[in-house]
Amino acid sequence: MSFAGTFGLWMAVFFTFSIFSFLYKDNPFYKFAEQVFVGLSAAYWLVYLYYSIMLPNLFSKLISDFKGNLILLIPAALGIMMLMRIIPKTQWISRFPIAIMIGTSAGISMVRYAKSDLLSQISATMINPFAAVSVSAVIGNFLLIIGTICGVYFFYFSKKQEGLSAVPSKLGIWFLMISFGASFGYTVMARISLLIGRLEFILKDWLHIIK
């Protein structure tokens, strides 16, 4: 292997161990890796943003066909207004791009969530519970309908939840807890895979213990 390759490998190994060392306790190696990570990644995203967004979507378009892309001057102006924050006196100007961005985001989120998380989830729950092949699926369908309704009711804020009205909300919590347990258990595998991936790097690429 070339010198650059070997050096790169050892650098990767060093950083891997430095991050792992954090599990024992805070130490200079972690501090070093942490600061390098923050610095590197900040610059990485700046460079990435410049090449993959600013250059093709703004600068190249304006340079190659300025008149045809006049509309792009609006986001460019808003972007520059955003940068006015650097000077304390002109800080208030940045409120315009912020307000426009937040207003647009609010509009986008409103329709997007109403569609994918509200409407489609409601219609997905409109099922005939008996239209299933097995007994367990019929029971499951009932659980699905009851669980969804009780879960939604759990989030009902404008009524004290006591007496009879506490029952569905209690059921709702049970469903939430079952779901949290299930998601936790389901995720274990993916997380262990991440560790296997790192150990594979150390044992295979670096130490050549496993093939």
Binding site: V13, P75, A99, G107, D117, L144
Partner: protein
């Protein structure tokens, strides 16, 4: 004026987006994607703000010789290094300011930016991510304790699903007769994932969607405005 005019802008842009969702005709049909492209461009400008903040903060710590200032110096240097090599020679797909740097590429095996990406950024990021394996174990050890009925539910379903996802979970209940197949651990964990779990996820999604619709509406109508700060 410094506060009310932005609020009017927020109102107009929000309403336009909502209306355009229902109108298939141009220019409305392209409004959302155009605005999202704009968002990226504005964010592209704005990232500089954060980087200046980072730069200044590190510089201040180094100047004041705060404890561990050399770590901040290392951070600053890695920032500069990545920025400079990225701009000079570009990335795998893009040409940098002074070309592709074939000579350096021959020596390093790839562009300096990609070399740093592969050998520093990637291992740092992947290792940080893999810490989750340890934390998921310590969280389970500490928190899955028999206490109240609710926490027991959490623990029991977690145990069933953890068992059901591996090879020995299947072995454990493989002796069950055909009529009890439902209780076979992989089947049981699939059942939990498919029904009670989906029900709760749906409930969270539906109510959170209502919360998001409400918050968005408050923003568009200008009721929620703390993000703009004060008038002074």
């Amino acid at each position: 004026m410094k506060r009310n005019l932005p609020l009017i802008f927020a109102f107009i842009s929000g309403i336009l987006v909502v209306i355009s969702e229902f109108i298939p005709h141009r220019p409305f049909s392209q409004m959302v994607s155009t605005l999202q492209d704009w968002f990226m461009i504005i964010a592209g400008f704005a990232i500089i703000l954060g980087q200046i903040s980072l730069f200044q903060a590190n510089l201040a710590k180094i100047k004041e010789k705060k404890s561990g200032w050399y770590f901040y110096l290392a951070g600053l240097l890695s920032f500069m290094l990545m920025l400079v090599i990225g701009l000079l020679w570009g990335t795998q797909e893009y040409r940098g300011l002074i070309g592709h740097g074939e000579a350096i590429q021959g020596w390093l095996g790839s562009k300096p930016f990609d070399y740093m990406f592969d050998n520093a950024y990637m291992p740092l990021s992947a290792t940080m991510f893999s810490l989750l394996a340890f934390f998921i174990a310590s969280a389970a050890y500490r928190a899955f304790i028999i206490r109240s009925f609710e926490s027991n539910l959490l623990m029991i379903t977690a145990v069933i699903v953890i068992l059901g996802r591996t090879s020995f979970g299947g072995m454990l209940t493989a002796w069950l007769p055909e009529s009890f197949k439902f209780w076979h651990l992989p089947n049981l964990s699939d059942f939990i994932m498919e029904y009670p779990n989906s029900a709760a996820q749906r409930a969270i999604m539906i109510s959170a969607a209502l919360g998001i619709i409400g918050s968005s509406l408050r923003i568009i109508l200008g009721i929620e405005r703390s993000y703009l700060g004060s008038d002074k």
